[in-house]
Amino acid sequence: MDETVAEFIKRTILKIPMTEMMTILKAWDFLPENQLQTVNFRQRKESLVQDLVLLCESKRASLRDAALLDIIYTQFHRHQKVWDVFQMSKEPGEDVDLFDMERFKSSFEKILRRALKNVTVSFRDAEENAVWIRIAWGTQYRKPNQYKPVYVVYYSQTPYAFTSFCHLKSNTPLLSQALTVASNHHKIVKMDLRSRYLDSLKAIVFKQYNQKFETHNSTMPLQETLELDMHMDSRIIHENRIEKERVQRVTQETFGDYPQPRLEFAQYKLETKFKSDFHGGILAERKEPLRCLIKFSSPHLLEALKSLAPAGIADAPLSPLLTCIPNKGMNYFKIRDK
């Protein structure tokens, strides 16, 4: 086994937390069950990793197997990457061909290899007709850097693909082209949507976030809040009860009852020329537009926005610029003069 492959496997296994070790190794399915039984999982991590790497050597693990382990690790830790969303489209009137996963994979890899000799491409199928693609980029003279791969998650029945943030921006056009051509699309566009939470991005883009699941004891939430008030101390009286109820109602209408998809920020870029009634002011003659950037950050942005009005920090209804985020599938906005 190549030394670089051994080092790569060692570093990947070292990243895995002990609680997940067994699960991930089983998902990898490279080391058989009986061999895993012989390893002592109670020893210190460094020694455990050494034992596992020796086992991999004895089974002659290849770069391919190592890449697969890396994909599985990333699938378990998808929140460690920041994901962008790409949307592809076909020409209007184009025939809808049946999607062939194997043809897509071979075509994708071929396109990349034709442009760049040094590249490692690996695939892993996932549920919902999705495929996880791992790409390690090299250059004409250097072998691929296995420690800075790019991941693409493509849902074959949809025109959407999610890519992890890539430091080498120069390879993005090639990646986009490979994706578009291999999947029989005509155009690809990067959406103004970015987050760590892949599942939330999926929910927004596939419009799955507003599905409410019926449970046996689902009651109207408004009634619930009123009942809660009854249990409170009767010596406390809310004067603005009607206003509170209105705010709750408006919030519920805007955001719904369901849990919101998870985003970490929303960014608004404003570009406008200065407008003033007074002529001859300092800024009136300015030709350059004024620029302003506002960024909202939160561990869970949409839930935070939802709780603004009920908490009394903002008026209800909130600005449509904030509430349109899941609907429009954007969290980057550019606001210009009309």
Partner: protein, 180 residues
């Protein structure tokens, strides 16, 4: 009834009512709960309002003390209190009104300057308390003070009136904001 007046209703028997005015319902609720935990000979009632004027449809007892709660982290809450002050009769400010500023502990989050609220309280000649309502211990202490103040304003403490209390509190302020 768009203006609150202190003496336009009969007092209830042994009842003392406080009105807390502020935008952040959760904080007001917590303060109300803390106040009601206190041992008190009078029957307490706490009214929570987001802003004034109060809706006229509610039948309420005479209000003995109004506390305007401003969150120093939010200009919105200050503006709300400033607008509500227009709906209070001037005679309330003879000891039956007070200001409470919360959030001063986290300086970096404050968007309302300390001086702004000090000036506001000075304009209305009313006492100003600083208390971080989010912290259990401070809130309990503040609740104790407010309950005591409420009892005096309701006339339940013999020998001390709201106006007495006001002048006692004022003499402990050594500097007016102009001198700062």
């Amino acid at each position: 009834m768009s203006v609150l007046r202190p003496l336009d209703k009969q007092p209830g028997l042994n009842t003392a009512t406080i009105l807390l005015v502020g935008t952040e319902d959760a904080l007001l609720q917590q303060l109300a709960d803390s106040m009601l935990k206190e041992d008190c000979a009078s029957e307490l009632r706490v009214h929570l309002a987001r802003s004034l004027p109060l809706p006229s449809s509610v039948d309420r007892p005479r209000i003995d003390l109004i506390v305007f709660v401003v969150n120093l982290h939010s200009k919105y809450s200050l503006r709300n209190v400033e607008e509500s002050l227009h709906h209070v009769d001037a005679t309330f400010f003879l000891g039956k009104a007070a200001f409470l500023a919360t959030g001063a502990g986290r300086e970096s989050h404050c968007s309302v300057h300390r001086n702004t609220i000090v000036k506001l309280a000075h304009t209305y000649r009313s006492p100003l308390f600083f208390c971080d309502l989010e912290i259990e211990g401070f809130r309990a202490t503040m609740a104790q003070r407010l309950v005591r103040m409420l009892q005096i304003c309701a006339g339940h403490v013999p020998g001390v009136s709201a106006l007495n209390l006001l002048s006692l509190l004022r003499s402990s302020e050594t500097l007016a904001p102009e001198d700062l």
